[in-house]
């Protein structure tokens, strides 16, 4: 079944609506009720609280957009947003580059044993980020594997407490994200490549395209959908990166690795600045929304007919 074949609600001949038309909502209602009560309402409540100065206990006072002004004015709060943006480099750009590089190398021939690799590469994405963070905390530690390895290969001078180093802490946290998300991006692109029509490659080769041109002119454009998904998933992961930061650095050293999520938690529940925390939460969500919107805008195919909606495969076959 496809939407295109059936008359949409707007073009259907007008007739009086009866309760029968609405009966289907009985199926939707339970999901809608839970969703509205425990997700939508709290989100709106956050927006509302962001207009108050409130310590969580005593009577709050209305400050309008004062909290938003403070987010932009306070260097620590602004810094947390900047840190989150820097993390995008490690959570989004590096994994996507790694994924594309692997795809370029592996796309042209099928190989056996991919199933095992796939299983392995997705594993970091599956296990709790808290466990991942704890693991990397040890790897980055004074006597951790990374320092030991550096010492072992004669680079002992490079050894340091990575997570406590003002220059390296954010990089170290970011690389954990790279580790988590690279496998996902890789698998995403490789599975996307499998679906590309082989004729496109054959045509390109007839034109005398080498591996690089083939990649740029066939693979990349065809992977637009996967790129959008990867960019969205990884960017959201970077901006809402609470778990890893909480267990690895707690925001330190100094404020080098504070991220908005950490500050929302800290401001609301230990500093008694619920309004400010709410404002930061709202801004973070807006940032995510804008980025997701831009990514999807850019990746949309030019012709609507090629729109890759779910179900398009079924339709084309029937």
């Amino acid at each position: 079944m496809s939407r295109a074949k059936e008359p949409s609600a707007r073009t259907a001949p007008r007739r009086a609506r009866t309760w029968r038309d609405y009966r289907g909502y009985l199926y939707v209602l339970p999901a809608l009720a839970v969703y509205l009560t425990f997700a939508v309402l709290p989100a709106l409540h956050t927006a509302y609280l962001s207009l108050f100065e409130w310590d969580g206990v005593t009577l709050g006072s209305w400050v309008g957009l004062g909290n938003y002004r403070e987010v932009f004015a306070d260097p620590a709060l602004r810094g947390s947003v900047v840190n989150a943006l820097v993390l995008i480099v490690f959570f989004a750009f590096l994994p996507i580059l790694a994924g594309l590089a692997m795809t370029g190398l592996l796309a042209r021939h099928r190989r056996r044993g991919m199933g095992v690799y796939r299983l392995l590469f997705m594993l970091p994405q599956v296990v709790p980020l808290v466990a991942v963070g704890v693991t990397w905390r040890w790897l980055y530690g004074d006597d951790g594997l990374i320092n030991e390895t550096l010492g072992g290969i004669g680079l002992g001078g490079w050894a340091r407490a990575w997570l406590g180093d003002f220059d390296w802490a954010l990089v170290a946290v970011g690389l954990v994200g790279t580790w988590v998300l690279s496998g996902l991006c890789m698998m995403l692109f490789l599975s996307g490549v499998q679906k590309i029509d082989p004729q496109l490659y054959e045509a390109a080769r007839l034109d005398g395209a080498g591996p690089v041109r083939e990649f740029v002119s066939v693979t990349l454009p065809q992977l637009r959908g996967e790129l959008a998904v990867a960019l969205t998933v990884t960017t959201v992961a970077a901006l809402a990166s609470f778990d890893i930061v909480y267990v690895t650095t707690g925001g330190g050293p100094g404020e080098e690795t504070t991220v908005p999520g950490l500050l929302v938690y800290r401001l609301a529940f230990s500093d008694g600045k619920v309004g400010l925390a709410s404002a930061l939460g709202v801004l973070l969500s807006l940032l995510i929304l804008v980025i997701v919107y831009i990514v999807n805008r850019l990746s949309r195919p030019e012709t609507p007919e090629r729109s890759l909606r779910p179900g398009s495969a079924v339709r084309s076959r029937s």
Partner: protein, 460 residues
């Protein structure tokens, strides 16, 4: 031709979003109105009808049947269990149900917990308790202090830490908690390694300590272990400041007395000392990336000669190092200066919503008993009444003796983070920056004073 299937999660959203923006917007507006009506201004004002102080009578009313008190706390579960059991033996009618929360969460939630209608009867005193007292959510215990004679049972300094802060602190007439175990920070040292560096006794002046650090460094060992990833750095800074600043001026600052400031020439000099030590490489190389517990473990393994930490580490170090472990207070500038340190007590307050203030009072009074002191000491804390237990052997004994000196000199100060609930992060992050040379002592003190100003509002 093969087509790709579903990766339309987001694209789908965008498509539908476009089509039905209006419906969606209308729905949102309706919901917004709904919240606006029901929520109004968040929070509620304090209830003026609730009692602000304990009743004058300490006698637990008879004939009420059994009484159950709920206790919420964050430190030393084993000690609390033992105290509660011993108390129940003495007062079979009163049962206490302890509920443990880890400290970091405890501090975050205690304000809200005590403000709720289901607040527990007893609560461990923590950062932010002063706000709770100001709101009237915990009771002023002054009548019990006089009726039970607590001034004789508990050291003056620890009761003084529990009298509230800000404008309310001035008189010292009020009392909001009673201490069970006490804590204190200082310097541990490895006697065997110190001898190798030619150090045979604890330093008597700050300058001598500086020379000892230099000697250790020359001997090729790590002088001082600082766990600056969490609280180790601020403990060291507080120890330096406590020796530099007159106790009264420091306490006024922690308590928010009008006009108090941390930006004095003496604190600046103390802060510079910390920076100087860091620059000279006296700290463990990755101080900023190491927790207190980790530095303690490293110290126990002989990886540093000195260690800044609190009495809570004494038991572990005594066990791991035996006679090699020693303890001293960071010395002042002159020999024989007043013995000072930072510390706080594991103390308990009574909720103003309790139905059994007398029973709760009886428990607090029990904390001052010899029996309680024994339990506290057994669990590695310093009992309020030190004469109640014999001085232990080894490093535990050195800690206990140091504590007596501090008590005798009235030199016990609050931890600096007690200034405000949001002071811990500027302190921790600030000392990290000092150690890494990322901020100046002036800017650091300025940032602390900003937080102070924010809370106690232009004291000038």
């Amino acid at each position: 031709m093969r087509r790709r299937t579903g990766k339309g999660v987001l694209r789908e959203g965008a498509r539908m979003g476009r089509r039905r923006t209006t419906t969606y917007a209308a729905l949102l507006c309706a919901l917004l109105l709904l919240t606006a009506c029901s929520a109004l201004t968040p929070g509620n004002a304090a209830d003026p009808d609730r009692p602000r102080t304990v009743p004058s009578s300490t006698a637990v009313p008879r004939g009420e049947g059994d009484i159950t008190l709920r206790l919420t706390f964050a430190d030393a579960p084993a000690m609390v269990d033992a105290l509660v059991a011993a108390f129940h033996k003495k007062h079979p009618r009163i049962t206490i149900e302890p509920r443990y929360t880890q400290f970091a969460d405890y501090v975050k939630s205690i304000k809200l917990t005590m403000a709720s209608d289901t607040a527990p009867d007893l609560a461990q005193f923590a950062v932010g308790m002063d706000d709770i007292a100001a709101r009237g959510d915990i009771l002023d215990l002054a009548p019990y202090r006089d009726a039970y004679g607590w001034r004789k049972k508990f050291p003056a300094a620890s009761l003084d830490q529990l009298t509230g802060s800000g404008r309310r602190a001035s008189s010292g007439r009020r009392l909001y908690g009673v201490p069970a175990g006490l804590s204190m920070t200082g310097i541990y040292y490895n006697k065997a390694l110190a001898r190798k560096a030619g150090i045979t006794r604890p330093p008597r002046t700050l300058a001598e300590f500086g020379r000892q650090l230099a000697a250790v460094k020359r001997a090729g060992m790590t002088p001082l272990g600082v766990g600056a990833l969490d609280s180790g750095g601020l403990h060291l800074w507080a120890a330096l400041v406590n020796n530099a600043m007159p106790p009264k001026a420091y306490r006024n600052w922690v308590k928010g007395t009008a006009g108090a400031t941390i930006e004095t020439p003496r604190t600046l000099a103390a802060t510079r000392k910390l920076v100087e030590w860091s620059r000279k490489g006296y700290f463990n190389e990755s101080a900023n990336g190491t927790t207190q517990t980790d530095t303690t473990a490293q110290f126990a393994r002989g990886e540093s000669v000195f260690l800044i930490n609190g009495n809570w580490a004494a038991g572990q170090l005594s066990e791991a190092m035996g006679k090699d472990a020693g303890f001293f207070l960071l010395p002042g500038e002159r020999p024989g200066a007043r013995a000072v340190s930072s510390g706080f007590s594991v103390s308990y307050a009574i909720s103003s919503r309790t139905k059994h203030p007398q029973a709760a009072g009886a428990f607090l009074d029990f904390l001052g008993s010899r029996q309680a002191a024994k339990i506290v000491s057994d669990n590695g804390f310093l009992p309020p009444d030190e004469s109640a237990v014999p001085v232990p052997e080894g490093v535990l004994g050195e800690v206990a003796r140091a504590h007596r000196r501090v008590t005798a000199d009235n030199g016990m100060n609050h931890f600096p983070d007690f200034t405000a609930p949001n002071m811990l992060d500027p302190l921790r992050a600030g000392v990290q920056k000092l150690i890494a040379g990322r901020t100046t002592p002036e800017a650091y003190l300025d940032s602390l004073q900003d937080v102070w100003q924010d809370r106690y509002g232009g004291g000038s």
